[in-house]
Structures are given as structure tokens and as C-alpha cells.
């Protein structure tokens, strides 16, 4: 899955948006209290061919998602510093409502604690304000790509100790019960389970799942693994499916 464009700041070539839009325009929900930042982001994303809905508060965003316009939203960009309900809570509620909507946090602080808390609340990725348009756009594109079918056409997946991963339909069931997974966690599971027992370093996973070529935050991987375990494992503290190899990274199994 080679990325078309990396998350590294690829400088704009001056010809405006050059990303071919295939199919219907992806729809993004911007949740940001500062009007200028919100307008700026909306302007940039629209120029790049995205459909944009905006919300100034968490409450407004949740109401919008619950309404009829909510169905078309494919990704949320969420500022953590919001008046009223804070970004973490909004993120948790979005996750509770929709397991599969990718969320990118926009943090003004860059504080480590904010990032960790945000990732634990279920965010798929984060960017630190002020962010340049190409970086934001690349992150959004990468997050959306995770939600696309991988193109690996296979039959119903093998039963891996009660876990069935359908690589074509992008569904996961455990002992017959569907486990809804957000795209990032799903991609992570697909990546790991494609080569059972192979050890993936955090850097490899950041590159293959998040499209971060370099200097991705390895906590993204750790947080996603944690969320994945919480949904898959019988005892998350003693994982069977996604195991840690200390000093190296993660692997799927052995079961």
C-alpha cells in the first residue's frame, strides 16, 4: 500500500489542488471554536475537493452527526480546546455513536498528556496547531484511505482462534459476534494478521497504517493497540492476538 503522497510537508507546487478526486467527494466535519481557524481550514479543504461541515462546539457537532447530515460525514477533525464539552469527551461520544468514523485531533498545546488522553479517547491521529494545509490534507487523506477496501480480494477469512477477519468485507467477528472497529484499528489488525507471528516495529506500522514516513509518534501505535486489545482480547492485559515484543514492537499471535 504505497502512499501516493507522504505526510511529510510536500511543498505545494503552485498549481492548486492536484489530487484527483475519484468518486463522491469525501465529507469532513470540522469541529473548531475559533472562527478564523475554522474558515481557513474550510477554505483549504474545499479547494482540495472536500465537502465540509463545520461546528463551533462539541454539542453542535454531536447534534449534526445525529441529524440527517451526519450520515455523509466520513471523517471528523476535532479541536481539543472547545468551550463547553471538551474535545476528549466529544471524541468519546463520537466513538460511542460510530465505531468507524475516523477522528483526527487538532491540539493547540502539543502537550504530551493531551495527546495521550486524546488517543485513549479513540482518536486515530493528531496534528499540532498551527498546521500547514498540506500536512492536514495529507493526514486526512491517509485516514480516509484506511477506511477504503484494501483491494485484497479473499474469501471469508480463516478462523483464528475464534477471530474471523473478512479482508474483503472489512469486518471482524469474534465467536460469531461482529466487532465494529474504526478504520485505523482495523488496518492495524489487517496488517498484523496478514503475517502472523511476524514482528512489526512501531515505525513500520506507522508507515504502513498511518502513512507517516518519519517521525510519526509511536504512541499512535501504542494507543491503537491498546484500543484494539480492549475490543478483541478476553483479558486485555494478557493479550493473545496482538502481542508485544519488548524492545521491538508487535506481532499477531502465536495463537
Amino acid at each position: 500500500m504505497p502512499p501516493a503522497c507522504t505526510s511529510a510537508p510536500c511543498t505545494a507546487d503552485g498549481n492548486g489542488p492536484d489530487v484527483p478526486i475519484i468518486g463522491p467527494m469525501p465529507h469532513v466535519l470540522l469541529i473548531e471554536d475559533d472562527a478564523s481557524v475554522r474558515d481557513g481550514m474550510e477554505l483549504v479543504l474545499r479547494r482540495h475537493g472536500y465537502g465540509v461541515d463545520t461546528a463551533a462546539t462539541g454539542e453542535q457537532a454531536l447534534a449534526l452527526l445525529a441529524g440527517e447530515r451526519g450520515a455523509r460525514v466520513e471523517l471528523a477533525v476535532l479541536d481539543l480546546m472547545l468551550p463547553g464539552m471538551d474535545g476528549f469527551e466529544v471524541c468519546r461520544r463520537i466513538r460511542a455513536r460510530s465505531a468507524t468514523l475516523p477522528v483526527i485531533m487538532l491540539t493547540a498545546r502539543g502537550d504530551d498528556q493531551d495527546i495521550v488522553t486524546g488517543l485513549e479517547a479513540g482518536a486515530d491521529d493528531y496534528v499540532v496547531k498551527p498546521v500547514t494545509a498540506p500536512v492536514l490534507e495529507a493526514r486526512i487523506r491517509a485516514a480516509l484511505r484506511r477506511a477504503e477496501p484494501s483491494g485484497q480480494v479473499q474469501g471469508p477469512g480463516a478462523d483464528l482462534a475464534g477471530l474471523v477477519i473478512d479482508r474483503a468485507g472489512l469486518t471482524v467477528t469474534k465467536h460469531g459476534t461482529p466487532v465494529p472497529l474504526p478504520p485505523t484499528e482495523l488496518r492495524l489488525l489487517l496488517e498484523l494478521s496478514a503475517s502472523p507471528c511476524r514482528v512489526f516495529s512501531r515505525e513500520q506500522l506507522l508507515e504502513s497504517v498511518w502513512d507517516h514516513t518519519f517521525l510519526g509518534d509511536s504512541r499512535l501505535v501504542d494507543a491503537a493497540v491498546g484500543r484494539l486489545r480492549a475490543k478483541l482480547e478476553d483479558i486485555p492485559s494478557k493479550p493473545r492476538y496482538v502481542q508485544t515484543v519488548r524492545g521491538f514492537g508487535y506481532r499477531f499471535g502465536p495463537l
Binding site: G16, D34, S36, L43, V44, K129, P130, V131, S218, T244
Partner: protein, 506 residues
């Protein structure tokens, strides 16, 4: 409350040794003993002199009176001129009456001694005889004969009636003074035996006095050392109302004032740092909007009239620069607030360095000599920041070629990762030294190649941030001139402890 003083401890044994020789305690003991000795000796000397004088006076008076009475009684029936026999009888009679003392009677050339065996001539001096002959009254003299003291009393015998003219007869009595001498000597002896305990007592009192003075002095000394070592909470307990208590009170007041102004300064410093953090934070939101729309301007610059295009590009570039500055301010504020955390994991350092260079498009401009396979537990993001700042600084201020070297070196406290960035520029200005790590330190303009260079301008905080990041890893960064000598470029060397395994991020 009291912390162990780090500064004072090593010097203490030497200080104590000096105390033993010239200390207050020794001086007090010596003074007390000397004072006790002087007073004892003076008192004894005065008492001895008075006692001796009184004893001798009494003995002399008694001897004179006794002799006078006896001579008066015996001389009544004595005929002048005498012959040798009557003179001897006279002497014997007188001697009988005064307790058997030796009596010598003289009449012109005749001389008689009560005890014929005694040697009297050397005890009765010419001086005394002359005084007796010419003076006409009783005279006495103390003489020493064969080492023993004697009292010699002499008197002329006068006629009782009429003009009391002399009869020409002289009487001398020699009495022993040994008993008196022994009496006074006993006084000296008892003083001598008494002076030892007195001196000892004086020494003990001196030690006690020294103790009462020294204890508060020592406490004060310890508190002062603690204060000097940085424990501003150090105080002494004030006891009593003497001068030392005053001193202790003054010390406490001084320490209070010091602590207060220290707290004030710290508070002001914390306020200033918080202000910087708050300002940078407040700048971020407008900057976020500007950064976002600046891209739009830059993207469309080609379609704008030339002036507007230039303006648009400048806005874009300066917005990016401002963002970097605010980022760096935020970063340094996090270090100041001790909020920076190490997010460490085992990392291949050569890969990290290469990726840092590649990310910034520096791969073609920087020579690398990297030891492969050096893995250490580090925060990859922070190592990237260090590499980016050191190399960026070398590209901006030095001259090509810029070389990045990665190796390991054993050091006293374990193996270290050594990463050096060398340039071939003019080297460090002589006055720069470690100041290159100061915030917003501006080197001599000759070393700066200006904003025209496409490595861009630093925020002025890059080196300070690099150093803080190194410190967070327990490492250091040194700035030096190249080994070939000044003028051959500058070398910045990062040294990190090489931890191969450690706390992973899980």
C-alpha cells in the same frame, strides 16, 4: 528542615584541627588558668609577706622585751667593772631567764658566753655591735648562720637612775628563728598544694564557659553553612537574652529576608516564564488560521500580479517562520516548566540521522560517517530535533562541507553515543564559547549567511532547545573549534549515555 551541607562537610576536619590549636576553647582554658595562677600567686605572696612580717615582728618584740626585763633584773646586783667570772655568771643568769638562749655579755675587751661551746662571733655582726654601742638602745638583726635563721638582739646596759648613762656593758641574745620560719613555710606549702585543684577547677570552669559560648556559636556556624549551601530554610533556635542570642536573632532575620527575596525572585521568574508560555499559546490560534490560508495565497501566487505574488510568498514564508518561532518558544517553555517528557524507545541512530536529513532535503548537502547498528533507547523526535538544529546551524553559519559523524565511545560512567556535526566555516567567535547555547544568541554577522540561504533562518532558540533535549536524555552538547585549530570550522558534539534497553513505551 535542615539539609546536610554539602559545601561545609569536606572542610570540617581541617577546621576542627585548627580549632584545637587556636580555638576559642583553648584560648579560654589558657586564659582561665593563667588568671587563676596569677591571682593565687599574688594573693599568696601578699599573705605570705604580711604573715611573715607579723610573726617576725612579734618574735622580735618579745625577744627584745624578754632580754630587757631579764637584763634589768640581773644587772641590779652586778658590779661594774666586772671580771671574767662575774661576766660569765651574768651571761649565764640572763640566759637562764630567757629560755636558755645563747647570751653573750661584753664589757670592753671582756666577753662571756652562756654556752661556752657555741660559736657566736659570726652571728653577732660588727654592724650590730656598732649600732648597739652608738645607739644606746636595744637593736636586733636577723642573720643566717649555717643556713639557719637566727635573731640576734643586742642592748647596752644603762644605769637605772639619773641620766641613764651607759655602763659599758653590752648584752647580746641569740634566739633561734627556725620555728617561725617553719610556720611561714607551712603557709607556702599549703598554698602550693591548694593551687593545683584551683588551677584544675579554673580549667573546668573555662571548659564549661567555653561550652556555653561555643554551643550557640557552633549551631550558628552550622546554620550559616547550610544557608551558604543553598538551604534558605536554615534557622537557629534562639535561647536566652545574651549577645549570642542577639546574633542568632539577627541571623534568623537575615535568613528570613534572604528567603523572602529569593521567593520573590523565583515567583517573578516563574511569572515571566508563564507569560512567555501564555503569549506563545495565545499566538498559536491566529497563527493556525494564518498558516492555513497562507498556503492558499502561495498556491495562487503565480496568478497574481508580480508585486502581489511577492507579497503573498513573503506572507507565506514569514508565517512559517513565525510558526517555527512560536513552536520553539512553546518547546522551551515546556522545558522551563519541567513539563518535557522523554518518550523513549529503542531506536537505530544511524537511521534516525539519515531520516532527519532526508526529511529536510539535506542529504546531498551533508556528508555522513555513521556507525551502523548503533541502537539506543532515545526519544526519536527529540534526537531529530537535536540533529535538525545542529545541522541547520552548521548549514546557516558554517561553510560546506558539513559532516555528521556517529560513533560510540567508552567513558568512565559507561558507553556513550557521540554524534558530532562539523562545518568548515570561520569557527566560533572567540567570545562565543558556551553562549552559542543561549536563547536568541546572535553570533557575529560574519558567521551568519543570511535569510537568502534556503536552510532558512533559525528561531534563535534552536541551539538552546537542542541542549535541553540532550540534557533530558542525560547527555551534553559541547561547542568547540575544529581540531585543526581556530578558523577551520566549528564542531558541535552531542554525547548521550548509551542505554541499549530500558523502559519501552509500554
Amino acid at each position: 528542615m535542615s539539609r546536610t551541607d554539602r559545601a561545609g562537610r569536606p572542610a570540617a576536619p581541617k577546621r576542627r584541627a585548627r580549632h584545637l590549636v587556636g580555638g576559642l576553647r583553648t584560648r579560654l582554658v589558657v586564659t582561665f588558668v593563667v588568671v587563676a595562677l596569677i591571682s593565687a600567686v599574688t594573693a599568696t605572696a601578699l599573705a605570705y609577706r604580711d604573715a611573715r612580717t607579723a610573726v617576725l615582728q612579734r618574735t622580735q618584740n618579745a625577744a627584745v622585751n624578754d632580754l630587757r626585763e631579764r637584763v634589768g633584773a640581773v644587772a641590779a646586783d652586778f658590779d661594774v667593772p666586772p671580771d671574767q667570772r662575774s661576766l660569765s655568771r651574768f651571761a649565764a643568769k640572763v640566759s637562764e631567764g630567757i629560755g636558755g638562749n645563747i647570751v653573750v655579755a661584753r664589757y670592753q675587751d671582756l666577753s662571756a658566753v652562756s654556752d661556752s661551746l657555741a660559736d657566736t662571733t659570726s652571728r653577732i655582726t660588727v654592724e650590730l655591735r656598732t649600732a648597739v654601742t652608738t645607739g644606746g638602745d636595744a637593736e636586733f638583726q636577723r642573720v643566717r648562720w649555717r643556713g639557719e635563721p637566727y635573731l640576734v638582739v643586742g642592748m647596752p646596759v644603762t644605769y637605772a637612775d639619773g641620766d641613764r648613762s651607759t655602763s659599758g656593758l653590752e648584752v647580746y641574745a641569740i634566739s633561734d628563728l627556725r620555728a617561725e620560719r617553719d610556720d611561714t613555710a607551712a603557709l607556702l606549702d599549703s598554698v602550693r598544694t591548694g593551687i593545683v585543684p584551683v588551677v584544675l577547677l579554673a580549667a573546668v570552669l573555662a571548659l564549661l564557659a567555653a561550652g556555653t559560648v561555643l554551643r550557640p556559636v557552633r549551631k550558628l556556624g552550622r546554620a550559616t553553612r547550610e544557608l551558604a549551601a543553598g538551604d534558605l530554610g536554615s534557622r537557629v533556635a534562639v535561647t536566652g537574652h545574651d549577645e549570642l542570642a542577639d546574633l542568632a536573632r539577627t541571623f534568623n532575620e537575615t535568613a528570613d529576608a534572604l528567603q523572602e527575596s529569593d521567593a520573590d525572585l523565583r515567583e517573578q521568574e516563574a511569572k515571566a516564564r508563564r507569560f512567555v508560555a501564555d503569549v506563545s499559546h495565545e499566538l498559536r490560534t491566529p497563527l493556525a488560521a494564518m498558516t492555513m490560508v497562507a498556503t492558499v495565497l502561495e498556491e495562487d501566487a503565480d496568478q497574481l500580479p508580480p508585486d502581489a505574488a511577492r507579497a503573498a510568498r513573503t506572507v507565506g514564508a514569514e508565517t512559517a517562520r513565525l510558526s517555527r518561532l512560536v513552536e520553539d518558544l512553546m518547546e522551551i517553555s515546556r522545558f522551563d516548566a519541567k513539563a518535557a517528557r522523554l518518550n523513549a524507545a529503542e531506536t537505530d541512530l544511524a537511521d534516525t540521522v539519515r531520516a532527519s536529513l532526508a526529511l529536510r532535503g539535506w542529504t546531498d548537502r551533508v556528508r555522513t560517517e555513521l556507525d551502523e547498528g548503533v541502537r539506543a533507547v532515545v526519544d526519536r523526535r527529540r534526537i531529530d530535533v537535536i540533529v535538525a538544529n545542529l545541522v541547520g546551524n552548521a548549514l546557516r553559519h558554517g561553510a560546506p562541507p558539513v559532516t555528521v559523524t556517529l560513533t560510540t565511545a567508552p567513558e568512565a560512567d559507561g558507553e556513550r553515543v557521540v554524534l558530532s556535526v562539523a562545518d568548515h566555516g570561520p569557527g566560533l567567535p572567540p567570545e562565543a564559547g558556551e553562549r552559542v547555547f543561549d536563547r536568541f544568541y546572535k553570533a557575529d554577522t560574519a558567521r551568519t549567511r543570511g535569510a537568502a540561504d534556503d536552510s532558512g533562518q533559525g528561531s534563535g532558540l534552536g541551539m538552546a532547545i537542542a541542549l535541553e533535549n540532550a540534557r533530558l536524555h542525560g547527555g551534553t552538547i559541547d561547542a568547540a573549534d575544529a581540531a585543526d585549530g581556530p578558523g577551520h570550522g566549528a564542531v558541535f558534539t552531542l554525547r548521550l549515555p548509551l542505554r541499549r534497553t530500558g523502559e519501552d513505551t509500554e
